[in-house]
């Protein structure tokens, strides 16, 4: 195996820095009954943590719309970095004050379990400080990392839209089913009521009840 020269090695490491620039995640769904916490590792201080979540409703029977769930983001030091309350779907973005394991907690204030589809992305761009420290870190790597971050933000928006579309479709189908069911039920109730009316009037006039009562 050829021996790598230190410069080449540094270049490889610098490239790895670019490779490590974007951490991908999938849009996953969890069911939140009371509280669900997800931990995501943020490697560097100053990384931009972005993400979104959408509540894909379960079949809510009575209320027109779920009041929403709360999201709390806690830093490794225990401080709350970001809070969102009473939302049925939102995007969030913040700069990590320090590196470490961040906790994203969804809290459902109401008993009915809700399915939440979320996506969290941690992005890192090697900044000018790194450039100054190591002359082998090509500025083009910074640009590539920025480009990657921009594309990741587009992907994040898409996932958000997809989740919202799923929720919208769910609502539409539920509306349709309910409308059909209630309309047919209304007709049947109407016909039953009028049949009962007729039967009652007939009974009033039947001989064994009493001829002159009416």
């Amino acid at each position: 195996m050829a021996r790598r020269r230190p410069a080449a090695l540094l270049l490889v490491v610098a490239m790895a820095a670019v490779l490590a620039a974007a951490w991908r995640a999938e849009a996953l769904s969890v069911t939140v009954t009371d509280t669900e916490c997800i931990h995501e590792f943020v490697p560097y201080e100053g990384d931009t943590v972005s993400g979104n979540f959408v509540v894909v409703d379960h079949d809510i029977f009575w209320s027109s719309d779920h009041p929403g769930i709360d999201l709390t983001v806690t830093s490794p030091g225990g401080n709350t970095v970001h809070t969102l309350t009473g939302k049925s779907g939102d995007k969030f973005e913040f700069k990590a004050p320090r590196g470490g394991m961040y906790k994203f907690c969804f809290h459902n204030p109401y008993g009915a379990p809700e399915t939440v589809s979320f996506y969290i992305h941690v992005g890192h761009i090697p900044n000018e400080h790194n450039l100054a420290k190591d002359e082998h870190l090509d500025p083009i790597n910074v640009k590539i990392a920025e480009l990657k971050e921009a594309l990741e933000s587009v992907t994040a928006e898409q996932k958000y839209l997809k989740a919202r579309e799923a929720r919208h479709r769910h609502t539409n189908e539920s509306t349709r089913k309910r409308v059909m069911f209630y309309t047919v039920a209304e007709y049947l109730a109407f016909m039953a009521a009028s049949a009962l009316q007729v039967v009652y009037i007939r009974r009033l006039f039947s001989k064994n009840v009493g001829y002159n009562r009416v």
Binding site: A16, A17, L19, E26, H39, G100, C105, T183, S194, V198
Partner: protein, 228 residues
Amino acid sequence: MAARRSGSAPRWLPPVRAAPPGRLPPLDPTAGSRALRFDLESGHTKCISDEIKVGAMAVGKYHVVGPDPNFPDAQLPESHRISLRVTSPYGNSMHYAENVQSGHFAFTAAEAGDYLACFWAPDHKPPVTIGFEFDWRSGVSTKDWPSVAKKGKVDMMELELKKLEETIKNIHEEMFYLREREEEMQDLNRKTNSRMAWLGFLSLGICLSVAGLQLWHLKTFFERKKLL
């Protein structure tokens, strides 16, 4: 499915990751930490679902991690084991593992829809919270970039640009998918709208015919009874 509840989440700092600015990251960017960490209470179930398209590959890796955030290098207790079942939207079990500390699975989605990965831990006395890391990727992100780099003998920058190209292609496909879905939904809404109009007329028709029937029936009845 059994109740899904999350316990309190002990924070866990992995060793030597919080690098001061300027220090370069470890050479292998895929080394750990791309996964999401969840907490599982013994005796409870936690389910995570993901929507996967037909024909897309899905790859998952999971392993139990140290429970105590203050001692990340502590010995993993043997009793901390989890079980996992991955089910397809139609209920077929794609992967099943019982009482393991780590594992992985891969499958190609035959059905489009929500794939459910359910973790559960057997009951302990006293109840413990088991932390586990779960990395689930599907579709494009399952592509094994290091092997592509080795096969094609491409250098790092080219690999990065290739990745960008894949990402863009993926975005393009997602846009098509979203557009299709929006069209379907618009269709559905339009159908519902026209159905509502039709049902409105039907409602009026039923109302009038029932009233007419009533009157006719009672009139005949009274004429038979010689009251009218």
